[in-house]
Amino acid sequence: MSSVLFDVPGPQALRRQRRASAITIVVLVVLAALALFKLQTEGQLSGALWEPFVTPAYVQALLEAALTTLRVAVVAVVLSVLFGAVFAVGRLSDRAWLSWPSALVVEFFRAVPLLMMILAIYLVYGDGLGKFWSLVIGLVLYNGSVLAEVFRAGVNAVPRGQSEAAYALGLRKSQVMQLILLPQAVRIMLPAIISQSVVALKDTSLGYVIPYEELTSIGRQVSIEFGNILPVAIVLALMFIVANYSLSRLAVWLERRMGRSTQPASELDTGA
């Protein structure tokens, strides 16, 4: 493999790399053994702590919680896309009374911690909204604002000649947006929307603070009952990793399928 930093290795470099690889693997094995030893001496590997994950009643509770989490994520992502589209178009508008408030909303909700939003929504409107919608609305405000910026970037990424040609044909601005820019932008943005749904799926876990009965809250309840927070956290992490990793592979696959793209979607989301 060659990259910015090095050429294709010759025989000597190859030997050196093999040696370094071997050392790395030895270090990893030693670290893993130490970790297992520590878990063993603290009794974390005893069957009693892992029992809930083979007990049908608890497995079912966890799977139901996973479904709840998925439901929150799906509703939140769908509404976020709508929210994002509305505010992106608003911000791209020529009318100042439309573009200014849109920009303000988008910038505000991107800068405020999501957990704080969810807590505030729940504390103020929780009685009327219920826990599900408090969580979903918080997620929509944040992810929708991020998506609004993604959409705006997507529309701006359509080559200028496209809109100029459309104007030259006599289309109005709204027509240019609907007929020319948005259809092309959606193609560019689809992988980014999927990447953002990874973020949304992870953020459903913030329901924990309300607490809403999604995966992490149920996991916490199980861990309090069995005194097995480490096994529970490891299982939760694995469930999230499997779901999110599949989603991001899907994004990469879509990106490849749709051909060239200027910016890998996987690098659009850098936080949260």
Partner: protein, 215 residues
């Protein structure tokens, strides 16, 4: 309005806590993330695999689950750092994955002709890295790094769910005690976060401009 003014000391102390977490966890994550980033662009396949595995695990796990693992999990192993440090470790482990990706994309953003040219005039690996690649990579890394630090500033709010009195924790307390002033309290605390985010963005923009070199 009075509620916020009357509790200004509590609120300021809470933002002190938030900033403390941001700075300590940010420095920790920069160190760990840079090391992992170096792994990910290294010539050694096993090191690259370590970097990739770390990023895959921590980018796909919710920060809250990392908190459960570290905050409640470490004491189970008879390792008992104080609250603040357990929260910091969780934030560092999570954020390092994103810093690693930022560093990697920065190094990859350097045109490969640059390093090839450096090698062909006889520079060794260390020289080409130090004199040619890293100065350019650093410039490309500033914007994504700023985004990661902004995300970290917001992510520190998770400690509110674990009994650490940061700004979000105090917001909940103030709203519970003064239900009549929710909007003032919410907007006040939110503006505090907006200010932190704006300062990070401002510094990043300054750095970017300073590092910008006409090519």
């Amino acid at each position: 309005m009075d509620t916020l003014w009357d509790s200004r000391q509590v609120v300021l102390a809470a933002f002190g806590q938030t900033l403390g977490l941001l700075v300590v966890a940010g420095l920790g994550a920069l160190v760990l993330g840079t090391i992992l980033g170096a792994f990910r662009v290294s010539a050694v396949p096993a090191l690259r695999a370590v970097g990739t595995a770390y990023v895959t695990v921590f980018r796909n796990t919710p920060l809250l689950v990392v908190f459960l693992l570290i905050y409640y999990g470490l004491p189970e192993l008879e390792v008992r750092p104080p609250q603040f440090w357990r929260a910091t470790i969780a934030l560092v482990l999570y954020t390092a994955a994103f810093i690693c990706e930022a560093v990697r994309s920065g190094v990859n953003a350097v045109d490969s002709g640059q390093a090839e040219a450096a090698r062909s005039i006889g520079m060794g690996f260390g020289q080409s890295l130090r004199l040619v690649v890293l100065p350019q990579a650093f410039r490309a890394v500033v914007p994504p790094l700023a985004n990661v630090l902004i995300a970290l500033a917001k992510n520190t709010s998770l400690v509110a769910g674990f009994g650490i009195a940061d700004a979000t924790f105090r917001m909940r307390g103030l709203i519970n005690n003064n239900p009549g002033d929710v909007y003032v309290i919410f907007v006040g605390i939110a503006l505090g976060y907006v200010l932190i985010v704006a300062v990070i963005a401002f510094i990043a923009r300054g750095l970017e401009r300073q590092l910008a070199v006409a090519r």
